[in-house]
């Protein structure tokens, strides 16, 4: 790509200006009052000056460097380490890869890149990169929204949508017995390939996994068997309810009824009203047919709709409100965004109605809908999908290979806890510090005398082993418990201080840690005649500068959790302290200076001085999941705004979800289209 000429170079800048002005107007419509708008305009004015001075520096100084020293391996033909600079040759693009620049600076300053066999960068050149990045980071952030791209339903979304459309779930026919692993229960998930996480890290970000021919065939197959079942005796009740048949309906599909089926199914399949023209064109094709031929033709029409892009993707049918550019999404698109966000499923009747009668756009209605939606059973998908991905809970499944009853306990505990936090309006920070937990027979042993308050777990005679449901338990006496970090399942998911520390940093604090370098020196063996704990040995390891860079962050947190063994048992409970066991040192000091004596102390730091950081991380994740895409620089403003509000107001999860759903990236859309085709 040639270096952009001067006008091109300034384009991003003009674009920022336009967007910032536009967004100020639009934001004001939804969020900000008049005063805020004025403030925004004044701020924008000051923003423009540094922007002016800065614009183009990336193209001028950094792009030539990239071309000389990086693109050979990281762009165009080769993309080693999956790093590709070829799409990041403008400042605007660079802004969307802030975390990449963090890594770039790290590897460049450590001399890891360019690799030994290539020409090294001069000190001057290295400084240039850092200077650019530091200045760029200091630039005020202008909220912007990337151009909207339709997105294919994820496998989970597809499964749930199909279930809601037809009133039954397609399940694998396999008998379930205790202690038996029956594999994937959903036929849809068994047949569809699993979605890889997208750039956002979430499975609903399907942008980078294109539709393939075999996937299309799977969709056609699943649509076919769903329709077969709908028009069999097993689907009769649902069909009768949907088309309001009388009780004595014999299941016959009359031409009249076929018409009704088309009219009721099509808008549900497309999740918005369907024009009379399209309905008519389908109804026409059914004309004159009856009996089996009619059913076959009806199935054919519905199947065509079920493998159409309008059904399989979200967003193809979003209606621009006149002009192109940034604008509020149409109400049906908003309804769909809400339902897939909270339910991973299509909108229900009530949400659809709210979109139809225009009330969804009214102030407060989104909040009201969310409050209602969280009480619906489908809200379980928020913890089962978003929650599981947020905390990486699926790796529990890999840890426990041959004890399905134990696995069940370990799987359900954090999920039930998240569901409780999400749906019962609990404060966000209760994720880390809560006196409520969920335990079943397998996990109750971790909760000391508190477990005595549980209702007895009943095992019927003749049942040798069984899974038990979790019960909600208030922690009163149990030592070392409370919050997600002290759950046996989370502790046993990550063994050892290093994995635990890394998990907390990445998952809870949102710290981006690089991969450990390949030539990591082994931890030195204990010198003869000396007794050293793992921690002491490891501290020696940290003397190495390369290692210390990450380990000064990881270790204090990880070792604070050393009071729990690999199964999550709390070793420091007062009744365990006996004999001459070596005392476990759980004290530490964070790189930011805070000191603590034990894990309780660390937890206290996490929920006070680190509170904002935790909330920022969670906000980013929720927003990214809600949007089904990676966040860019343009989203920073929204993240900050929500973070500040949630931190100062001590918001609940519900409030946080509502904030996200009311934010411009969620409620607005940018059309950059030319209506030429």
């Amino acid at each position: 790509m040639p270096v952009p000429s001067l006008p091109e170079r300034f384009f991003p800048f003009f674009f920022f200006v336009i967007i910032s002005l536009l967004s100020s107007c639009i934001q004001s419509r939804f969020v900000l009052g008049f005063v805020n708008r004025m403030r925004f305009l004044i701020v924008s004015f000051f923003v423009l000056i540094p922007l002016f001075l800065f614009a183009g520096k990336f193209e001028e100084e950094i792009v030539p460097l990239l071309k000389n020293s990086c693109l050979k391996c990281h762009g165009g033909e080769k993309t080693k380490g999956k790093v590709d600079f070829s799409g990041i040759l403008t400042e605007r693009a660079a802004g969307d890869h802030l975390d990449l620049w963090e890594t770039v600076i790290e590897v460049v300053e450590l001399g890891e890149m360019p690799p030994e066999e290539e020409k090294p960068l001069s000190t001057d050149e290295r400084a240039k990169i850092r200077t650019w990045r530091d200045e760029f980071m200091r630039l005020p952030i202008v909220s912007s929204i990337p151009v909207f791209r339709p997105r294919r339903l994820s496998a989970n979304e597809y499964r749930n949508t199909l279930g809601s459309l037809f009133g039954f779930d397609l399940e694998v026919g396999i008998a379930r017995a205790e202690q038996t692993e029956s594999g994937e229960k959903s036929l849809v998930l068994k047949i569809l390939p699993p979605d890889p996480p997208g750039q956002s890290g979430f499975f609903n970000d399907t942008h980078s996994t294109p539709l393939s021919s075999s996937l299309l065939e799977s969709y056609a197959y699943l649509a076919g068997i769903s329709l077969d079942r709908l028009f069999s005796i097993q689907g009769r009740d649902f069909l009768a309810r949907l088309t309001r048949q009388k009780d004595n309906w014999n299941g016959e599909i009359t031409p009249d009824l076929a018409d009704k089926v088309v009219r009721s199914f099509l808008p549900r399949i497309f999740r918005r009203p369907v024009g009379e023209e399209r309905i008519e064109s389908i109804v026409k094709k059914l004309k004159g047919k009856k009996g089996k031929a009619l059913v076959a033709a009806l199935k054919f029409e519905l199947k065509a709709a079920l493998i159409s892009p309008e059904f399989l993707y979200r967003g193809f049918l979003a209606e621009p409100g006149g002009d192109k550019g940034r604008q509020a999404v149409d109400p049906y698109e908003l309804a769909e965004r809400l339902s897939y966000f909270l339910w991973e499923d299509m909108p229900d009747e009530e949400l659809y109605e709210s979109a139809r009668n225009g009330s969804l756009g009214k102030k407060g209605e989104v909040g009201r809908q969310i409050a209602r939606m969280l009480t619906d059973p489908r809200a379980r998908n928020l913890s089962e999908s978003f929650g599981v991905q947020l905390l990486g809970l699926s790796s529990i499944d890999d840890q426990i290979k041959n004890n399905p009853i134990h696995l069940h306990a370990m799987r359900t505990q954090p999920r039930d806890f998240l569901h409780y936090l999400f749906t019962e309006d609990r404060p966000v920070m209760e994720l880390l510090d809560s006196n409520v937990t969920f335990v079943n027979q397998s996990t109750s042993g971790f909760y000391g005398n508190d477990r005595k308050r549980l209702a007895p777990f009943h095992k019927p005679r003749g049942v040798e082993r069984q899974r038990t449901m979790n019960q909600r338990l208030e922690i009163k006496e149990a030592e070392g418990r409370g919050g997600i970090l002290t759950m046996p399942s989370i502790l046993s998911m990550n063994h050892g201080p290093i994995l635990r520390g890394t998990w907390v940093l990445r998952t809870i604090l949102g710290v981006r840690l690089g991969e450990p370098p390949a030539d990591v020196p082994p931890i030195k063996p204990v010198p003869r005649g000396k007794k050293m704990t793992f921690r002491e040995r490891f501290e020696a390891h940290r003397d190495n500068v390369t290692c210390a860079r990450c380990h000064e962050k990881i270790d204090p947190i990880g070792f604070a959790l050393d009071g729990y063994d690999k199964n999550g048992k709390y070793l420091l409970a007062s009744h365990h302290k006996r004999g001459n066991q070596p005392a476990i040192d759980t004290s530490g000091k964070l790189p930011s200076g805070e000191q603590f004596e034990d894990f309780e102390g660390l937890k206290n730091i996490l929920t006070t001085t680190k509170k904002e950081q935790v909330i920022r991380n969670l906000t980013r994740k929720i927003l990214s999941y809600a949007l089904g895409r990676k966040l860019g620089r343009g989203d920073q403003g929204v993240v900050e705004e929500i973070t500040n509000k949630a931190t100062s107001e001590n918001s609940s999860w519900k409030e946080l979800l509502i904030e996200v759903a009311n934010s411009p990236p969620f409620r607005e859309i940018v059309y950059e289209q030319e209506d030429t085709k």
Partner: protein, 534 residues
């Protein structure tokens, strides 16, 4: 296309039987017109049905019968009407104990240590596949028992590796009969569907902006690829005519285990009949199945109930027998199906060998002795059915497998520990069990009783854990032992055979009852018939 005439030939039917499901009638008539009556022999099929968790031996065993003169046992009653098509084998297996996972391996591999070899069904599959499209099917009802993974598999590949099983009757039906790859009618439908979708999406293309366009392109590309794939499979006009699979009835989604198994047995019969495959193994459950048969009104787990000695109650044994009877009914269901289909100038069953049974006998102490094993079907005339073969000695299960391999034309000198095939299956001579004379007596000396006689389990279900030793000329000795003795002495192994037993007695309701074993010898068999876990 070379397959079309085959299907017609195989599906030929002279007159449709009354049991035939209606949709097949037209299909049959169409085939009748096509002639081809005197073509080569029909292919032989092998089908095996595995029963989990052994049996309650007194309910299963036939006692005192002869080859051509026997009465079916109580558990056999559900399939008694097929007597003429059955070959009931007795004295199969030769181990004192069998773990659940060993019993699954033994069932088709002959011996649990034969773990580097393919199971017999797989060896047969290789031999008989011919031009049938699917080499074999490995089916089950239940998920994997991960604690002891071996419990979940009876079919093993060449290296002795577990072969994944499938469980969903609808999916298997679709794989066999509704696959666009093999079903031209499905292909035609798919083609016109893609045409329709493609033209509908064109309107979207006009509307879509630049960014949408990329995504839409991706969709159209997939659409075109699929169209090309379908085109490559050949012209459609030939297909529509010959697609008789379309008339097979796809099973409904099952709502309980009974429906699931019936649906699977339906699909199995269709698969064999259409010659889609010639070899199927189907597990009615894992060998230690913990399924709950709530549709029979039973709330306890099958495995728990199967340990009827240690978990004895009248209610439990009743439940266990109900479950076992249900397994027998499924065998009956399968035989009915296989008889209802006409194959060439006979019934489908005539050209099948069905192996039904379990890898363990006594379900509480897991003996691998007097295993329930029944063969059904005439095997193309190679099996002489309607007989009860009780061998004089315990037979290695591998000998049966060697005979089956021989029957299907697989040349092999030995299988598992067996060097010789099992005689008698084809009607030839075999060493039939005969009672050997022995003396029976009782001696009691200061609370220690020594008794020689035939051991048997009580056939009174109210006392199913009680044993008797029959002694000529007097009342049988009643034995009420604890689980320790039952298990460590492997009492179940000796049931039905003469033994010399020493033990302590107590007086109970005026009766002398043996309640502790101090010595046990077999008169004609092994006194130490193997250890637990063997």
């Amino acid at each position: 296309m070379s397959r079309n005439w085959k299907i017609e030939r195989r599906t030929f039917l002279r007159g449709a039987g009354a049991l035939l499901p209606l949709p097949f009638l037209n299909l049959m008539e169409a085939n009748a017109r096509s002639g081809d009556l005197h073509s080569s022999d029909p292919p032989l099929r092998f089908m095996t049905l595995f029963k989990p968790n052994g049996v309650h031996p007194p309910s299963w065993n036939i006692n005192g019968g002869k080859e051509n003169d026997f009465r079916m046992s109580p558990l056999m009653q559900p399939f008694a009407k097929h007597k003429d098509d059955l070959l009931i084998l007795d004295n199969m297996g030769d181990f004192g104990f069998s773990s659940h996972s060993n019993s699954t391996r033994r069932f088709l591999c002959g011996h649990h240590q034969n773990s580097r070899s393919a199971s017999v069904d797989q060896l047969i599959a290789d031999q008989v596949q011919g031009d049938s499209p699917h080499r074999s099917l490995e089916l089950t009802t239940e998920g994997l028992f991960v604690n002891q993974i071996g419990c979940s598999y009876i079919s093993y590949d060449k290296k002795g590796g577990m072969i994944p099983r499938e469980s969903d009757p609808q999916l298997i039906f679709d794989k066999l009969f509704r696959n666009p790859l093999s079903d031209p009618a499905k292909r035609a439908e798919m083609t016109s569907l893609l045409d329709r979708v493609s033209s509908d999406a064109k309107t979207l293309e006009r509307k879509a902006g630049v960014e949408d366009g990329d995504t839409l392109d991706e969709y159209f590309t997939a659409l075109r690829e699929t169209e090309l794939k379908l085109e490559k499979m050949g012209p459609l006009d030939q297909g529509l005519e010959s697609s008789k699979f379309n008339r097979l009835v796809r099973p409904l989604a099952p709502s309980n285990l009974d429906e699931q198994v019936n649906a699977m047995l339906d699909v199995i019969a269709m698969a064999l009949w259409t010659d889609s495959t010639r070899c199927i193994s189907y597990m009615l459950g894992n060998s230690n199945s913990r399924m709950i048969f709530d549709f029979l009104g039973i709330k306890k787990q099958h495995h728990y109930l199967s340990h009827f000695f240690r978990n004895f109650s009248r209610e439990n044994i009743d439940s266990l027998l109900k479950i076992s009877l249900w397994h027998m009914e499924k065998f009956d269901y399968l035989l009915n199906k296989l008889k209802s289909y006409k194959d060439h100038n006979g019934r489908l069953l005539d050209h099948c060998v069905v192996l039904y049974g379990s890898g363990m006998g006594h379900s509480d102490n897991h003996t691998a002795q007097r295993l329930p094993v029944v063969l059904a079907g005439q095997g193309g005339g190679k099996l002489k059915t309607g007989r009860y073969l009780r061998y004089s000695k315990n037979q290695e299960l591998g000998r049966l497998h060697l005979s089956l391999l021989d029957l299907f034309g697989v040349e092999q000198d030995s299988f598992a520990n067996a060097q010789q095939p099992l005689p008698g299956l084809d009607g030839g001579t075999f060493d039939e069990f005969v009672e050997r004379p022995f003396e029976s007596w009782v001696k009691v000396d200061s609370g220690v009783m020594t008794v020689q006689g035939r051991l048997r389990m009580s056939d009174n279900l109210d006392e199913a854990k009680v044993f008797y030793i029959d002694v000529a000329g007097r009342d049988s000795i009643r034995m009420e032992i604890g689980f320790g003795d039952f298990h460590s002495r492997n009492v179940a192994y000796h049931v039905g055979t003469p033994i010399k037993l020493t033990g302590k007695t107590v007086e109970k309701n005026g009766l002398t009852i043996l309640n502790k074993i101090t010595g046990l010898e077999s008169l004609f068999g092994r006194s130490n018939p193997g250890k637990a876990g063997g």
